[in-house]
């Protein structure tokens, strides 16, 4: 019994009926005789799974065009999935040509991190440059949200496409120091191009 007040043209929660477009899902309530005998519908269901069975069985020997096999499973350690350019993997620090980090220890990523995973100790070099004396990122707290990359004014910390190698036997190995986080700019070129593209289209 659907609560539709036909006379006043409102449904019982006060919304005009013409706005809602109801679609009844159950056309007939009782089972037909065809459905009551189990066998025919079961045979139809079996036809579906048997079709999948033979398609994939022969898909090992005669794969469809362009793929190695017809099953979509990726055989992980031998074949790896390339993540799309938007993928947020592990945060890494970028280094300049002379091997030092680009980071100026402004502390924005430390403030924005929702998991409070970053700790920065700023310092100043002899030539007046500001740099992080220690930059620790606790990987056991990081939630890979991408905020640190978004707020960094210097493109110094970005989310690399790396997703492997985080299973350790001692939890203290998960607190990454600055040295463990540094990467060169060429190795992360794709991600840097991507963020330059997207963060330049923000309000145009």
């Amino acid at each position: 019994m659907a609560d539709i007040d036909i006379k006043n043209n409102f449904s019982n929660v006060g919304i005009p009926l013409a706005k809602l477009k109801p679609l009844k899902v159950r056309k007939n309530i009782n089972l037909t005789l065809w459905e009551k005998l189990y066998v025919f519908e079961i045979a139809r269901g079996l036809a579906v799974t048997v079709r999948h069975f033979f398609v994939h069985l022969f898909g090992f020997v005669f794969p469809p065009k362009g793929q190695k096999r017809s099953i979509i499973t990726v055989y992980y350690p031998e074949e790896k999935v390339t993540p799309p350019p938007a993928y947020r993997g592990r945060p890494v620090l970028i280094m300049r040509e002379n091997g030092l980090e680009k980071c100026v220890a402004c502390g924005l990523c430390e403030k924005i991190c929702p998991a409070f995973a970053i700790r920065i100790l700023p310092g100043e070099r002899d030539n007046g440059e500001r740099y992080p004396v220690s930059f620790t990122l606790d990987m056991s707290r990081c939630v890979y949200c991408g905020y640190c990359e978004e707020v960094c004014p210097k493109e110094a910390i970005i989310m690399s496409p790396e997703y492997e190698g985080l299973a350790v036997t001692d939890r203290r190995n998960l607190i990454y120091s600055k040295e463990k986080l540094l990467r060169s700019e060429e190795s992360q070129k794709e991600r840097i191009d991507y963020i330059r593209r997207i963060y330049s289209r923000c309000n145009q």
């Binding site: 079961i42 269901g45 079996l46 799974t49 048997v50 999948h52 069975f53 994939h56 979509i72 499973t73």
Partner: protein, 358 residues
Amino acid sequence: MAAELIESIVKILFIFGVNVGFFSPILGWVERKQSAIMQDRVGANRADVFGFRLIGLFHPIADAIKVLTKEDFVPDGADKLFHTLAPFISLTPAIITFAVIPFGGHYEIFGHSVNLVIADLDVGMLFIFAFGSLATFGAVLAGWASNNNWSFLGGLRAAAQMLSYEVAMGLTIIGVIMVFGTLKLTEIGAMQENFFRWGIFLQPIGFILFFTCAIAENKRAPFDMAEAESELIAGYFTEYSGLKFVMFWMGEFLEIVTIAGVLTTLFFGAWHLPFVTDQMLLSFFSFAGPNGSNILAMLVNVGTFYAKLIFFIWLQMTIRWTLPRFRYDQVMRLGWKMILPISLINIFITGIIVLLVK
């Protein structure tokens, strides 16, 4: 006398070796791989020996090694004797019932008449039912003896289900027995030489009913509410681990093989190729002399029997992975209110037809 003894021992070793040694582990592999391919994924394929993967065929060996090295315990407060006894009671009927199933016909080899069945009993069909019903004890004892509410529920459900479906199973077979006129399985097999005398054409309704009852006896899906994984964790064998757990599973797999064997013998022509009589087969192989032709015909027939067996095993696996599970009261209603009356009607109609024809 000695020749018959040797023949019996060879047959027993062959069947035991093929069933327990070959089919049991292979069915574990088949279940994983077949269900995987049906579900658009790859099954287990990582166990390797010296770098050879062999599409996962080494996994049953890995399973066996894992199971043998597990701790064997009896839970606190459980009945020790029955807890240990239940897997054996569940496994033994599954192995024994294959003794009466013929996997080939009569052959004359070196002057000796070889009958390819271990025990050619006059009451072959009843032997299968009698030993099949002993498997009920295993399930009930396992459920009762573990000191666990969930196992208890599973054991109760298993008991009720297996008892009801044994009654129904017996009645569905009566139609076949009336048509063929004998309980002896070798004779039923021999009578299906003509393709249009196969049991499936003479008793189609009986085939569907018997198939359903047999799957229900075996407690496999869609009738596996006794071991329903999502409701009762593992039902009546929750508290088992190690070798005893594997014995329950082996009993289930061997019963699959037995049911496939019975279906082949009764309904699908036993060991005969379609449209090929025994005489045609022997004359086809006559180039090898009388002994050779018999041996080659024996090999062809045994191969045909096993091919049909494998088809039915595949069909049971497909049904298991496709259909959802029944509810407890619906299983009872199906067994008593639907299968029993239909099988009685089947007997009635078969009786009339047999009377008119003869």
